[in-house]
Symmetry: C2
Subunit: 398 residues, 2 copies
């Protein structure tokens, strides 16, 4: 959906001053250790995660620290962020993973299939960036509700499951009028609340089916319950919210669902404006990158500057690094294997740094020539800040 991208590009602050960038960068660099110190004990349902690598905003929202994640392309499951709209279902749903059922509708031969049956239809593996719509919210200056994510509500993951297009083919193909692929989560809904106000149900354009998989595996392990096991809808290139967990229904529908999470939630809109179905939905991700090293003061001499870059729903083609807050740029190189257009790529620039103050940031370009902007204009919910100004880090070299 180009509308979302154009909409956001229109929001750019063209006049962000370097001073502003430095100040914002200072917040990132300096507040980082403070955030780390606040780490609390992990809740039971994610007790297997690596607490040292995470920042816990709430019981349902955990972010990977900016310096975690390494340079190995994939993000270990223990470090992948958590953002659950509803509490995780009971562990009993992963006791017999193959028995989990998903109803497939809007096809010529609608059926309920078990995971065991899905495993017999086909297998595909795809690496994708999983990124929360609100990743970077903490960089906006306007007041926003929700977790103040910095860079860590994102990871790069290898998923394995059945291609949705193969399931559709198996069930006689799409019925007429299937404009959207609508996935429903299997969370237990609290009582006394209108279902459509609370249910996790998301629609994406039906063509997203071409790359989507119903996944039971995450980085080679059974899909953890906390990440949507036994079965999760993976829509490569789309924001995390569209990757519905514990998916119990996939329907090809004429209209988008009227669930609140779709109708008014996850809409890009000016500050102060209510959410509505005619606003761009948080579907395809946009080009983005950030530095993950160094984040702190450094000794002079040679410094390895690295981070991650991705194109959203397109391959990332180029990354540049600036040491002076965007005054000048140098081409970085990519590290390691290319896991495909939906994955991120670690990048590297080796620099010789004299003593002094640096504002280090990165700027990615996707294969269509879209360049990561200097700044991102405020939107009401503080979605996906991708401006290279505030993603910068301030480093003093001594």
């Amino acid at each position: 959906m180009e509308t979302a991208r154009i909409h956001r590009r229109h929001f750019l602050i063209g006049s962000a001053s370097t001073a502003g960038a430095i100040a914002a960068a200072g917040v990132t660099g300096s507040s980082f250790p403070a955030f780390a110190a606040e780490t609390k004990e992990l809740p039971d349902y994610v007790s297997w995660k690596d607490a040292d690598k995470l920042i816990m905003h709430t019981e349902q929202t955990l972010e990977m620290k900016r310096g975690a994640g390494g340079t190995s392309v994939i993000t270990p499951n223990e470090e992948v962020y958590i953002r659950n709209n509803l509490p995780s279902p009971d562990e009993s749903i992963v006791a017999d993973r193959d028995a989990w059922e998903v109803s497939i509708e809007g096809v010529n031969d609608p059926r309920t299939l078990t995971v065991g049956e899905l495993k017999n239809i086909g297998i595909e593996t795809v690496a994708t960036v999983l990124q929360c719509s609100g990743n970077g919210r903490g960089f906006y200056e306007h007041e926003t509700s929700g977790s103040q994510w910095l860079t860590g509500a994102a990871g790069c993951i290898l998923w394995s499951g059945v291609p949705v297009r193969k399931v559709v083919e198996e069930l006689g193909g799409l019925a007429d009028g299937g404009n959207f692929m609508t996935s429903t989560g299997g969370e237990q809904l609290p009582e006394g609340v209108e279902e459509k106000d609370i249910i996790v149900e998301r629609s994406v354009p039906a063509e997203a089916m071409e790359n989507a998989i119903l996944a039971w595996e995450m980085n080679g392990d059974e899909m953890p319950l906390a990440h949507g096991g036994p079965l999760r809808m993976i829509v490569p290139g789309y924001y995390g919210i569209n990757n519905v967990k514990y998916v119990k229904r996939v329907a090809f529908t004429e209209e988008e669902t009227d669930a609140k999470i779709q109708a008014s939630g996850y809409r890009v809109r000016p500050v102060g404006v209510d959410g509505a179905p005619d606003q761009p939905s948080m579907w395809e991700m946009q080009v983005k990158s950030w530095v993950t090293h160094p984040l702190k003061d450094s000794e002079s001499g040679r410094v390895q500057i690295y981070g991650v870059a991705f194109g959203g729903d397109k391959p990332v083609e180029k990354v540049e690094v600036s040491l002076d807050g965007g005054e000048s740029w140098q081409d970085a190189s990519f590290i390691g294997p290319d896991l495909g257009r939906f994955a991120w790529r670690p990048f590297l620039l080796t620099a010789d740094l004299e003593p002094g103050d640096y504002v280090i940031t990165s700027r990615a370009t996707d294969s269509d020539g879209n360049v990561q902007p200097e700044s991102t204009e405020p939107n009401h919910r503080g979605y996906d800040y991708n401006g290279w100004d505030r993603l910068a880090v301030e480093v003093t070299v001594v």
Copy 2:
């Protein structure tokens, strides 16, 4: 070293009967659940591993079950096999990872570098198959000492670290006469034993340096102590033994080390013959594949047959699957992203199976046209069985 490959090819049993193949396959398929039942409590140093996915041969040798590992290309750290020649060093060596020292010798400016310093020289990420020389030993019919590995002393891993060639360049380049790259492990040696009889020190041809890295990261996580952290030599395409753990010295030497593990150990030799330096060393791996699903009886109808395939030190180009013990073959397709020439690739063949007995096996071909053989002639130590006959699984479809 072509010698090793030619040597082993010369060992092929050309006359292995199909009946023999079926019998051997039966051992694999049927004994699998029995092995699984024998799983014991994991030793402390690998207590973080996934016991359900492992077979424990001894405290120092743990194998991944054939059905574990999934289809996501990489093997999760929790499932990667363990084969330690000596007990793991004390955990104190990973308390300050950046302080670990490695001495670099046989360069023009020899020096001892810390991991912290290495991290400033360069960064590269490479996916490799890590495979024990003895993987498949259990398929040989002759008596062999050592763990009776089946398929699971192997995994595919993303490593991140500094390219050895950059370290060499940093230290003024190779000194004259550096024919071999000799790496020494930092294990504490038991007292009262001749050092060269016990030390883990391995030489590989110096040109292996071109792809080698000194790695501090394994699948995005800090290198676990049990896998060689803080620092491990990774020699892509070479058997596990050459990927020296807790590496404390890398020397470019004129001769191979005279340590027993090199001079007489890990040599390919006829049964009953003593190990000697003129025999082929377990260096580059050979083309290999095996099916990981199905391993058990199956219902009739469509069955997804999958497994893993690799070319050793060359890319794998093709995999064929046979349902009749090698009488006929069908081309399989690869699943997911290609992580490079040293990685394995999951493969898939979808088959419609009528009720009956099947002997399912796979046969890989590397980019040089080397084809995985029908059988592997016995060698004294039972190294790397790669014959598609005994790697087969017997499946009854009802």
